[in-house]
């Protein structure tokens, strides 16, 4: 052991960092532990009288003949069987609500109650060390699922149990619809979902490209225009007259900072979290920064979001803040709809209601209007929430009482008035100039944001380059679109042969890191699945060969039974699983075959056996019963250990015994395939979490 540690001091360091207490114990006399005398599952075979050496969380060596370091802690397990901890690749902890979410942004882990011990205990007693919690919805796209390791006696938070990299998105197809057409539609809608993801992703990619180009152009433009004026603000002011299309060019809100990736809070929370530097109303950070530096008056711009009273600070107004305002936009589209269709082009108004402290300011003109917003004040927030009782400072019971506003309001009402007035003045100026320069179309006022004008401004030489429009940020699509480039695995639950083929077809066009789940009729299309190199997660349920009933079901469903495969025998007759009783069961699941798992394995598919949400404690029995139906014992064990780990993306961590992997194993008091054998001990990450 010492020699090994000397050879890899980094390992010691890592252990010391990750698990200080354990590492500390290892540096003492007992550094590592060895299991002796047991029959151990190594490399797809049961090796009798083998040793398993582990230290801390990791396995150091395994086999019949391994060299033991000095001072090793020996556990004698003569006559026992040691297997890697089983992995239930699709579980539902008993008592846990199914996810029922259709949003891949949601993570199933939030549904886990660690204080509900029994389901975990049941799974542990079945030798299961890792559970993948499914996030499948009733149909279509569901939440994200992930794998947990079994909790020991004391766990502080669920996040400690998560197997990193095991997370995947869930899609369920053809399970919840009645007829064949509806099932077809489900698969089509899955494809269009993928198409949406692609469009969304491409939209952002294009935007980033454009933004880059825009930045370059802007820099060039700034260089060209620099000698004319020192201050960029001043330059803008003077050029304001020239850029006639300004108000029309950007009636819609502008993008946030180009360098920063947009955060969720911006779109979802609107203005609540936005900073308001110097009354600049969320102006681009870069520009602000520039302005700060260029301000030769030495006037400091203050951030009003921090609720500091401006005092002697001058409130700085950007010349173009009306038009560059990013603040609302789509959210306020509906407000725009309330405006009269025909607005007098000469009319502009600013609506401010200081006594009621409406944090909104609207400018209407030329059929366009711009909303400005400052952050909500604390008092306003309270008023909105309607939770205000009595202020502990002033004793006001109304959040809008003047004395309360006086001490809570960092925003002097007078200032707002003054700014509004100034704004109004400027707006009129620029607007009139625009009107003078523009070539008004005969027959009425211009439509807002008309394309021709924006194009003409774009083509105009020397004009300030226009910032590209940011595509909307959608958290669910953002998460799900990771699946497109394989950063997020996709579990697709699909049962019937024709559905499987349709999914394979979709996956041909959208190469995802996909895993098929369910696959009741996989025996019909095993070769196709193998060719697509998709792993499958089965529940390996028993099937009853009742030809008549299945044929009857086929007639009901209006489809012909699949022809028997070449070389098939009576055992290949259509059948159904026990779980398919009840109305619609067979229609959803299709025709099961008791040698489904075996057929898929023979075709070369990576097969994983799971409980599919029906009791993890019988996982080994499930796999073993598949072994009685055509699989070998080795293949059956692989299906709940090595293959399962591979499918979860943690194949290098768990699933088999080899040096470097986590020391997670189960000790059985007899042949694990025997019903009369019991689990004696369970170790997860080198720690005993269960023992009789």
């Amino acid at each position: 052991m010492t020699a090994r540690f000397a050879a890899c001091p980094t390992l010691v360091l890592a252990l010391a960092l990750v698990l200080p207490s354990i590492a500390f114990a290892q540096l003492g006399t007992r550094e590592s532990t060895v299991l002796e005398g047991a029959t151990v599952w190594v490399d797809g075979a049961m090796v009798e009288n083998a040793k398993l050496l582990f230290s801390g969380r990791r396995i150091q060596g395994v086999g019949a003949k391994i060299k033991l370091p000095d001072g090793v802690d020996v556990i004698d397990l003569k006559g026992k069987f040691v297997l890697p901890s089983f992995i239930d690749s699709s579980a539902l902890i008993a008592g846990m609500q199914p996810a029922r979410s259709r949003n891949p942004e949601h993570l199933v882990i939030d549904n886990v109650n660690l204080y509900h011990r029994d389901p975990f205990q049941d799974a542990i007693e079945g030798g299961v060390g890792y559970l993948y919690l499914s996030g499948a919805a009733n149909s279509g796209v569901g939440a994200r699922g992930l794998a947990l390791k079994m909790p020991g006696m004391k766990v502080d938070k669920v996040a400690d149990l998560v197997l990193k990299g095991s997370e995947s998105m869930h899609v369920r197809l053809g399970t919840n619809s009645r007829g064949p057409i509806a099932r077809l539609a489900e698969i089509k809608s899955f494809e269009s979902y993928l198409k949406n993801l692609k469009t969304y992703r491409e939209g952002w990619e294009k935007y980033r490209e454009k933004l880059k180009k825009y930045e370059e152009e802007l820099a060039e433009w700034a260089k060209k225009n620099k000698p004319k004026s020192k201050k960029s603000g001043g330059a803008k002011k003077s050029s304001g007259a020239k850029s006639k299309s300004k108000p029309k060019a950007s009636p819609r809100p502008k993008s946030p900072s180009p360098v920063k990736k947009p955060k969720r809070s911006r779109s979802a929370l609107g203005l609540a979290g936005l900073s308001w530097p110097g009354f600049g109303l969320g102006h681009d950070d870069d520009d602000d920064h520039e302005d700060h530096e260029d301000h030769d008056d030495g006037v400091e711009v203050c951030d009003l979001d921090g609720c500091t009273i401006p005092g002697q600070h001058e409130i700085h107004l950007h010349d173009d803040w009306v038009f560059e305002s990013e603040l609302d936009g789509q959210d306020h589209d509906h407000e725009r709809d309330h405006l009269p269709e025909q607005v007098d082009p000469g009319f502009a108004a600013i609506f401010i209601d200081p006594p009621r402290l409406k944090p909104e300011l609207s400018i209407i003109g030329d059929g366009t209007e711009t909303h400005l917003r400052r952050p909500l004040l604390a008092s306003e927030r309270l008023a909105n929430q309607k939770r205000f009782s009595t202020c502990p400072h002033c004793g006001a019971s109304d959040p809008l009482a003047p004395q309360h506003i006086a001490h809570t309001n960092p925003w002097p009402v007078d200032e707002f008035d003054r700014v509004a007035a100034e704004l109004e003045q400027r707006y009129f100026e620029s607007y009139r100039l625009d009107m003078a320069l523009a070539d008004p179309k005969p027959g009425g006022p211009k439509k807002r944001g008309s394309k021709s004008s924006s194009k003409s401004s774009k083509s105009k030489k020397g004009a300030k380059p226009k910032k590209p429009k940011e595509p909307g940020f959608k958290p669910a699509l953002e998460v799900a679109s990771k699946a497109l480039d394989g950063k997020l695995k996709v579990r697709i639950e699909v049962h019937r042969a024709e559905d499987i083929l349709a999914v394979l077809d979709v996956l041909d066009r959208y190469p995802l890191d996909a895993v098929l789940e369910g696959v009741t009729e996989g025996h019909y299309v095993a070769e196709a699945i193998a060719k697509a190199e998709l792993p499958v997660v089965l529940d390996a349920a028993l099937a009853t060969p009742i030809q008549e009933q299945s044929l009857g079901a086929n007639r009901r469903l209006g489809r012909l039974p699949f022809p028997a495969l070449p070389g098939s025998s009576r055992t290949l007759s259509p059948s159904r699983t026990q779980s398919d009783r009840g109305p619609g069961g067979l229609a959803r699941r299709g025709i099961a075959h008791r040698e489904n798992a075996a057929r898929l394995v023979r075709a070369g598919v990576t097969v994983v056996i799971s409980s599919l949400g029906a009791g993890s404690e019988s996982l080994l029995a499930r796999a073993a019963s598949a072994a009685s139906r055509g699989l070998s014992r080795a293949e059956a064990l692989d299906a709940i250990t090595r293959n399962a780990a591979l499918v979860l993306g943690v194949g290098d961590q768990i699933g088999e015994f080899s040096p470097g992997r986590l020391a997670s194993f189960t000790v059985f008091d007899g042949d694990p395939f025997l019903a009369t054998s019991r689990v004696e001990k369970v170790y997860i990450d080198g720690k005993e979490i269960y023992g009789k």
Binding site: Q578, G630, R633
Partner: protein, 400 residues
């Protein structure tokens, strides 16, 4: 036609029709794996013979003559000229019995016109040449009980049938157990009895009358303890009442669908009542899985039924194994699918265990019966090999 063909055919036409049917049945159901020309006398050797009647025999031999077990033991001389079938690395167990099946009876087993129906025979609904029987052999089931459905206080008599292809020798017992019901399904507003108390009264009345000999033969046999009965009782109250009936009339009955027994299990301790449970599956909850072990602890005999072919035939042995995993003793688990059902159906003298003079119904398994990975290799019914697993070409077997 079919049921009468069991009787010795007297007319030539009957013989002809019988032969045609036999050929058809053989051709349809077992053309691929027709049983080899069955020798009248042969021996089967196995690594372990689980007899179900006594201790297991290691490296045992069974001698079979004319479909019956002639002898079995560890060191047995095989007479000269007898064929020896060698299963040295395999385990031999008695043929399994599903005591409540619908094999061969895809049509309704429901007859609910009158409350007391002692003459209805489930056998009349069974198509003896149905392919279900051949299919059951694949799961190692060699006999089934087919019972009439519970719709009335007494719904008639069940029958006991062998599986396999030889439909002429299918019937083990025409007059099987009598079906009784203490359940809401047996009373209705449409005919008497109309309520639970009426049902109880009817049961007492019928059994008293039958004890005096004034009823159909099946009910008389039941009331005098000579016929077996199967009683559906779901609620706690019905379970308690069934115990009262059993004690008062000394009935030999098996309770079915008695999952509620967990709550009144102490009253049933050592009462001699048999309890038949639907075989648990992977999806069963912990309570259902541990119930057999609890019953065993209280001295109540447990029997499993699988409702084949509605449910998977392989589920019978699997269910017993799952119960064993959850605490049911090995011996009790084996009995629950072999000798237990035979006793409940009243045919224990012929089938259910391996002993001299009994039918040569047995199953060859690749491993222990309660090894989840054990597969059925061969199924023998009346000394005929009715199922044989095809060897798996690419299978690499793990050394145990």
């Amino acid at each position: 036609m079919i049921s009468t063909s069991l009787l010795p055919p007297l007319r030539v036409t009957r013989i002809v029709v019988g032969c045609v049917l036999a050929t058809l049945a053989c051709a349809v159901s077992l053309s691929a794996q027709s049983p080899s020309q069955k020798p009248q006398q042969f021996a089967v050797r196995a690594k372990r013979i689980v007899t179900g009647a006594g201790p297991d025999i290691i490296d045992g031999v069974i001698l079979i003559e004319k479909g019956k077990i002639k002898a079995l033991g560890q060191k047995l001389e095989v007479p000269k000229g007898w064929k020896v079938i060698d299963h040295r690395d395999r385990v031999l167990i008695p043929g399994m019995i599903d005591m409540a099946s619908r094999a061969g009876a895809p049509k309704d087993l429901r007859e609910s016109a009158v409350a007391v129906d002692s003459r209805t025979c489930a056998l009349d609904a069974v198509a003896l040449d149905h392919r279900d029987f051949a299919m059951l052999c694949e799961a190692g089931i060699t006999a089934v009980g087919v019972l009439p459905e519970r719709r009335n206080a007494y719904s008639g008599q069940g029958c006991v049938l062998k599986t396999g292809s030889a439909y002429q020798k299918r019937v083990v017992e025409v007059h099987g157990p009598v079906m009784m019901t203490l359940d809401a399904s047996a009373y209705s507003r449409l005919r008497m009895p109309a309520s639970y108390i009426g049902l109880i009264k009817l049961h007492r009345l019928i059994l008293e009358t039958a004890k005096g000999g004034r009823a159909g033969p099946s009910l008389v046999g039941l009331a005098r303890g000579k016929r077996k009965g199967v009683l559906y009782a779901r609620t706690e109250q019905a379970l308690k009442d069934s115990l009262k009936l059993k004690r008062r009339f000394d009935l030999d009955i098996t309770l079915m669908a008695a999952n509620a027994i967990r709550r009144v299990v102490d009253e049933f301790a050592n009462s001699g009542m048999r309890v038949a449970l639907l075989t648990p599956t992977f999806r069963s909850g912990k309570r259902r899985l541990t119930l057999p072990a609890l019953l065993e602890k209280k001295g109540i005999q447990v029997v499993f039924y699988a409702d084949t072919p509605n449910l998977a035939p392989a589920g019978l042995r699997l269910g017993a194994a799952l119960a064993a995993q959850n605490g049911l003793g090995r011996r009790a688990a084996l009995a629950s699918i072999t000798s237990g059902p035979a006793e409940a159906l009243g045919v224990a003298a012929r089938i259910g265990s391996l002993a001299v003079g009994k039918d040569a119904d047995f199953v060859v398994l690749s491993a222990d019966p309660f090894d989840f990975s054990a597969a059925v290799i061969e199924t023998w019914v009346d000394g005929r090999r009715e199922y044989r697993k095809k060897p798996n070409a690419k299978k690499k077997e793990l050394a145990p």
